[in-house]
């Protein structure tokens, strides 16, 4: 079988638990730092993005309503499957970033550890950040965290695999669903990671991954009324300003994580989860009988 022709893989996008091609039929040829072409990659259009938001919105209620324990299990399962596919990701990273095998392996290991880290926090962050508030009336008053909803995530062209995995694990653990625009020059690991996700009991629509070019879709990410929060993985000042301006229409929560912060070990913190959660405070009347104080 020496003359066997290798089968080349068609990289597609990931929407609602399925792997369609971009509806636009377009593609682009990203290159790595050595100038090598990575392949023909889907150049997603705004309609792909629209479809992805519909899928993410549909999945959000069910995902946020799952028990913390179940969410943790599923994220842990992603880590397990990534561990099993480590060799594949090392090869892809070497291709994509032109790094040594040792560097690539280190990055994959860190990605797996991030997943396990946030899987572990799934049933613990709520206790850390929630609490009963003292109020001077007969009310039981408590605050807790809720997911903000659909989080759209934009990546700079050189945003890497570890940043992607860190963003996904810390955002979905709080019950958010995501539409992600992978880095323009790092689509191989992103789409292959979508296959790992799809094999890990993550409900369709919770994570949606598009490939393409940020300048083309940035405006639609930021203006879409059904997107609740925006995460930008990058540091381009112009992009940041543009996202902030366009997000004002429906008061999206905007967060920017540059490579330095998201790749550092300090990113591993429950406060990263809190970034995409909203505090809900409830006032619950307490009946006062015969001057007895409440039990709370």
């Amino acid at each position: 079988m020496e003359n066997r022709i290798e089968v080349l893989k068609t990289y597609k996008i990931y929407i609602g638990g399925k792997f369609p091609r971009t509806e636009s039929g377009r593609y682009y040829k990203p290159t790595n730092s050595n100038g090598e072409v990575l392949g023909n990659i889907c150049l997603s259009s705004r309609k792909d993005f629209r479809n992805a938001v519909v899928a993410a919105r549909k999945a959000q209620g069910d995902w946020a309503g799952r028990s913390a324990y179940n969410i943790g299990q599923i994220i842990y399962r992603i880590a397990e499957n990534l561990e099993g596919a480590k060799a594949q990701f090392v090869t892809l990273l070497m291709q994509e970033e032109g790094v040594s095998s040792a560097k690539a392996k280190e990055q994959v290991n860190q990605a797996i550890d991030r997943l396990i880290y946030y899987a572990g926090w799934s049933d613990k962050f709520q206790q850390i950040f929630s609490g009963v508030n003292p109020v001077s009336s007969s009310h039981f008053n408590f605050s807790m965290l809720e997911s903000t909803g659909v989080v759209a995530c934009l990546s700079d062209s050189d945003s890497n695999f570890l940043a992607l995995v860190s963003a996904i694990s810390s955002v979905i653990v709080g019950g958010n669903t995501m539409v992600i625009m992978a880095g323009e020059n790092t689509p191989l690991t992103a789409i292959t990671f979508a296959e790992i996700i799809n094999n890990s009991d993550v409900p369709g629509g919770v994570i949606n991954i598009l490939t393409g070019k940020l300048p083309e879709l940035e405006e639609h990410f930021a203006t879409h009324m059904d997107v609740n929060s925006i995460l930008y993985l990058g540091s381009d000042k112009k992009v940041i300003e543009s996202i902030k301006n366009k997000s004002a229409e429906n008061l999206k929560r905007v967060r920017v994580w540059d490579n330095k912060s998201i790749l550092s070990s300090e990113f591993e913190s429950p406060y990263s989860i809190k970034e995409f959660l909203e505090v809900k405070t409830t006032w619950h009347p307490i009946e006062q009988i015969g001057g007895a104080s409440s039990g709370y």
Partner: protein
């Protein structure tokens, strides 16, 4: 692209009409694969910009806004009627065609809609199963008519149909039609329970010849409900009847049509099968509950240029 202005009216001018007595044996058999392929073709039409806006407004104006649930309350029906009259604040939209409710909610709808022009359709005849006798079905119909329904949506007896008692089905429709008086009668075939395309065609012909003003695909309680192939098949039955008799019959696909794009494709199918004379809510309706909201979202998108969210429009 001659067929975009195609009208079967023109064809009819050159033809001599005569009354043809109904005979089930004259019902043609259907090429199901051809039907599916033909229906799929309509989905390839691209409708943009101004034409899209016009199409969406027309589709909105053709909706029978529906709530047919055991949990329907007076409040829910009133709320839906307000939505029927004014789908979204500040947009200058047409009203929907009608609201569709159970007979005991007709009076509530009547009192809320008043002279808004929105019609009241009521299901009747032991909806949705139709498993009762003619006497009860007539009473049910009478109850809706007395309360002020403009239109009656009846179900056929699918059991009798499968038993081959076509005369029973025919006579039942004719009796209900008589009980309707001035109200228009829509006959629900419940195509999801009929099994084959041939059966649907048979039931369509029975309903049309027995006096239906509209034929309607489904109750919305059975899956599959309205699909494009089955709707096309029924449109063709309407066309054949029109070519024989010169009488127009209306069509109402119901159930499962929830997005704007699909609604536009139905309109394309209607235009290309029956022609422009059918392109109004006098002759075509969508039975739907969620479609109106999606149309509003798409129209808002056209107006503002950015993608919209369901969070900013009323749920019901």
């Amino acid at each position: 692209m001659h067929y975009y202005n195609y009208s079967i009216f023109d064809f009819l001018k050159s033809k001599e009409l005569k009354e043809i007595p109904f005979n089930i044996k004259n019902t043609p058999t259907i090429d199901q694969l051809g039907l599916i392929e033909r229906a799929a073709k309509f989905r390839t039409r691209s409708i943009k910009k101004e034409a899209k806006i016009q199409g969406l407004k027309l589709a909105l104006n053709m909706i029978d806004l529906t709530t047919l649930e055991g949990k329907d309350t007076v409040g829910k029906v009133r709320q839906m009627c307000y939505k029927a009259m004014n789908p979204h604040e500040g947009m200058n939209l047409p009203t929907v065609a009608a609201v569709c409710v159970y007979p005991n909610m007709v009076a509530v709808a009547k009192e809320t809609l008043r002279d808004s022009g929105v019609k009241i359709a009521s299901v009747a005849t032991a909806f949705p199963s139709g498993m009762s006798n003619l006497k009860v079905k007539l009473e049910d119909t009478k109850m809706a008519i007395d309360a002020g329904a403009d239109e009656i949506d009846m179900v056929i007896s699918r059991g009798k149909f499968h038993q081959g008692e076509y005369n029973y089905v025919y006579d039942e429709i004719a009796s209900i039609k008589e009980a309707c008086g001035k109200a228009r009668l829509k006959v629900i075939l419940e195509t999801g329970e009929l099994g084959t395309a041939d059966q649907v065609r048979k039931a369509s012909d029975i309903a049309i010849y027995a006096g239906a003003d509209f034929i309607k695909t489904s109750t919305g309680k059975i899956s599959p409900a309205a699909t494009m192939p089955v709707t096309l098949l029924m449109l063709e039955a309407i066309r054949d009847y029109y070519l024989k008799t010169g009488k127009m019959i209306g069509m109402k696909p119901a159930g499962g049509i929830s997005d704007s794009k699909t609604a536009l494709h139905y309109l394309v199918m209607l235009q290309e099968t029956l022609g422009k004379e059918w392109m109004s809510n006098q002759w075509f309706r969508f039975g739907a509950s969620r479609l109106a909201n999606d149309i509003i979202l798409q129209l808002l998108k056209q107006e503002k240029g950015i993608y919209q969210s369901g969070d900013y429009i009323s749920k019901d």
